[in-house]
Every structure is written in C-alpha cells, then in structure tokens.
C-alpha cells in the first residue's frame, strides 16, 4: 500500500472510530439531564450547567483520537 493511501486511511479511521465512544457518552449524558429535569423542573438550570461541563469533557475524547490521526497524516514516515 502506498504511504499516501495508508495515511489517508489512518486519518479517516482515527477520526471515525474515535467518535463512537463519545457519541454514546454525550447521548447518555444529555438523556440523563432530560430525565432529571423531567423529575424536578426547578433544578433545570443547575442540571443544564452541569450538562455543559460534562459535555465538554466527553467531547474532548474525540479529539484525542483525532490528534493521533492528524499526527499520522502530517508527519513524515
């Protein structure tokens, strides 16, 4: 396989597979927030704040995988 093709594959696989876990995590987190707000609507504001915090922390995991893909793509062999 040519190195260009391998690099392109590496970047694509890294970004794609790395988005599976955080996708599940973010969906779970937002679902729990909705559930909590449905149980106690007066806590909605606090729950929303905590959701944003958790959102950014789990979103970051996608970028860990993406960074390695970018490293594989742009560094010389």
């Amino acid at each position: 396989m040519e190195p260009e093709a391998a690099k392109a594959l590496a970047l694509g696989l890294a970004a794609g597979l790395g988005a599976i876990g955080p996708g599940i995590g973010v969906g779970y987190l937002v679902g729990k927030t909705i559930e909590g707000t449905a149980r106690q609507p007066e806590m909605g504001g606090q729950l929303r704040g905590l959701m944003f915090l958790g959102l950014a922390l789990t979103e970051a995991i996608t970028f860990y995988a993406l960074v390695f893909g970018l490293l594989a793509f742009f560094l010389k062999a």
């Binding site: 944003f52 959102l55 950014a56 979103e59 970051a60 970028f63």
Partner: protein, 335 residues
C-alpha cells in the same frame, strides 16, 4: 296599567349574534397565511428556476488542491524578519485579545471604585461577566486564601481565552497568502484562530500546571503532596495506583487541558474551510458541483454560527473551570 296585547310585537330576548358556521374546508380568519406564507411557494419556485438556469449555463468546475494547512501557517507580515519578534497574524490577534482583556479589567476596576449603581449598559455587561466568573468559575476553588489568590488568575484565563476564541471568527486583512489586487502588502481578508496553535494552548496549560503543583507542594510539603496521589488506598495496591496517578498529574492533566482547547478550535475552523471548499474538491460534473457549492456554503454558515455561539464560549469556560478544579483538588486537605 298596560298589558301586552296582540298589537305589540312579541320581542325575543336579545340573542348573542352567532357567526355563520364555517365549512370544514374554510381556514378561518386567524389561520389565513401571512405574508411569508403567501410568498413562500412563488419565491421558492423562482429560486429553483434560477438555480436550474445557472446549472444549465455553467461550465464544469475544475478540481482544486485543497490544502487547509496553508491557512494555519504563520508567516511574517512586515518584511522578512522571521525571528522571535516577528509580527504575524497570530501576533496581531493575540495583541487584540490582550488589549481587550486589559481594557475589561481596567473598566471593572474603575467602575467598582466609582459608583456601584448600574447606570450604563457597558457597566452591567462588564459586571455580568465578572459575576459569571466569580460565581461559576471561581466557585470550584475552595474558599479562603486560595480563592482570594487565584480567583483573578482563573477569571483572567476565562476572559483571555474567550476573547481569543471569539476574535478567531472576525476576518482581518492579514492573510499573507493572497493579496488584494497586485499590491504586495495589502493582504486579503482571512481568519486565524490563535488557540488553534498548540503552542498557545500548551503555554496556558503550563501556567495552570505550575500553579497547581506549587499550591499542592505548599499545602502538603513535597513528600506529603506526593502522598496525596495515593487516592486514599494503602498497601500493595499502591503499585498499581501510583503509576496511573503520576501519569495523570504530570502528563495527562496539562496535556488534556491544552489539547481539548486546541483540537476544538482547529477542527471547527478546518470544518468551515472544508465546507466552503466543497465545490472545488468535488469538482467535475456541473450538477454535483453547483449542489456542492450551495450545500457547502449553507453548512459552512451553520458550522460558523455553531462554533462562534457555543463552542468558543464553552471551551473557554471549561478551560477556566478545570484550572480552578485542579488548583482546588491539589491543595485540598486529606480526606
């Protein structure tokens, strides 16, 4: 005494006037479409016809080499000096953010010393930002001396990173790869995110790294601070716990702080560039390229608004809050 005789007409009591019953197909007065509804289909049809004519009369779009890394290269703007003090577009954006932060802090200082009433919009906006930083970000710091010492640090990180992120969506004529016309030093408009440079974010994360280790050592002593990395366990399980804790505290915390901000900003800007360049990448057949252009510009606009509205502010907030949490947890007392 008058009695009702047959000559006076018998009047029925006043009835409430009943509107005529509408037929099932009638929309009713409050459901008639307004101006937007009346214009939607005719204007939409006209737009589609114009689009079709454009497709029919246009040439195929040639494929171009899409290289987004050129947008993120830093070249000196004035002259060819490329050393430590050279001015490039990153430096200009950084100077704007620094100026904004300093002006913000100076404004807060001046207004707090003066009157405490909210008598202008700027004052309430600035005080709102200060209160946000005080309540939400610095609340992660434990109360007491640590709060007093590091609340300005954490709030400054928030304001600085927020300004860096927001100004990265404002185009300035600093794009040294294309010039307007043929004049050499009138650069084209371009956008550059300073925080999409790993060196910027790692410098900010390094500041937090220094601060929280210093506070940890100050609160517990050097050996005591290393002992707080035992996560409350005792005995031989520490052989498993300590490598993980050392890796987390020395490597993962600052690196994750830096990479989170860097990758969010970089990927946001690269996605916007990619969507705008979609037509050039797809190329070839007329229909697909026109469709790619239209869809690309629309999606690029959506990404732009999403990034500017949500991701920029959220990432600045997360950076500041995590810095506060790390400082607080490094200096907390034993369980």
């Amino acid at each position: 005494m008058t009695t009702a005789t047959s000559s006076t007409p018998i009047t029925e009591p006043d009835l409430v006037p009943v509107p005529p019953t509408p037929s099932p197909n009638d929309l009713g007065p409050e459901q008639q479409p307004g101006l937007f509804g009346k214009l939607f289909f005719p204007v939409g049809a006209l737009i589609l016809i114009a689009w079709g004519i454009m497709i029919a009369l246009s040439d195929p779009v040639p494929k171009v080499d899409f290289d987004p890394t050129q947008e993120f290269k830093l070249e000196p703007l004035f002259g060819t000096y490329d050393g430590f003090f050279s001015i490039n577009k990153g430096v200009v954006y950084l100077a704007i953010a620094v100026l904004g932060s300093v002006l913000f802090a100076w404004y807060v200082n001046r207004k707090v010393k003066g009157s405490l009433t909210q008598n202008s919009k700027t004052q309430s906006a600035v005080e709102g930002v200060y209160e946000f930083a005080f309540d939400n970000i610095a609340s992660a710091l434990p109360a007491g001396k640590l709060f007093n010492r590091y609340m300005p640090f954490v709030a400054s990180i928030f304001v600085f990173v927020w300004l860096l992120n927001m100004t990265s969506f404002v185009p300035l004529p600093l794009n040294s790869h294309h010039n307007i016309g043929d004049v050499d030093f009138i650069y084209a408009f371009g956008v550059y995110a300073v925080t999409s440079n790993i060196f910027c974010t790692i410098t900010l994360a390094f500041l937090t790294f220094l601060v929280y280790h210093y506070e940890g050592v100050k609160a517990h002593g050097f050996v005591g601070y290393l002992k707080t990395w035992s996560a409350g366990q005792k005995g031989p399980v520490l052989f498993l716990v300590y490598p993980v804790e050392i890796l987390t505290n020395l490597v993962l915390k600052p690196i994750s702080l830096a990479v989170r901000l860097f990758a969010n900003m970089l990927s946001g800007h690269v996605l916007i560039l990619l969507m705008m360049a979609l037509a050039g990448i797809v190329g070839g057949a007329i229909v697909t390229s026109i469709f790619a252009q239209t869809a690309g510009v629309a999606v690029a606009l959506a990404f732009y608004l999403f990034e500017m509205g949500l991701v920029a502010s959220l990432q600045a907030f997360i950076f500041a809050v995590l810095s506060a949490i790390y400082i607080g947890s490094a200096a907390e007392e034993h369980h």
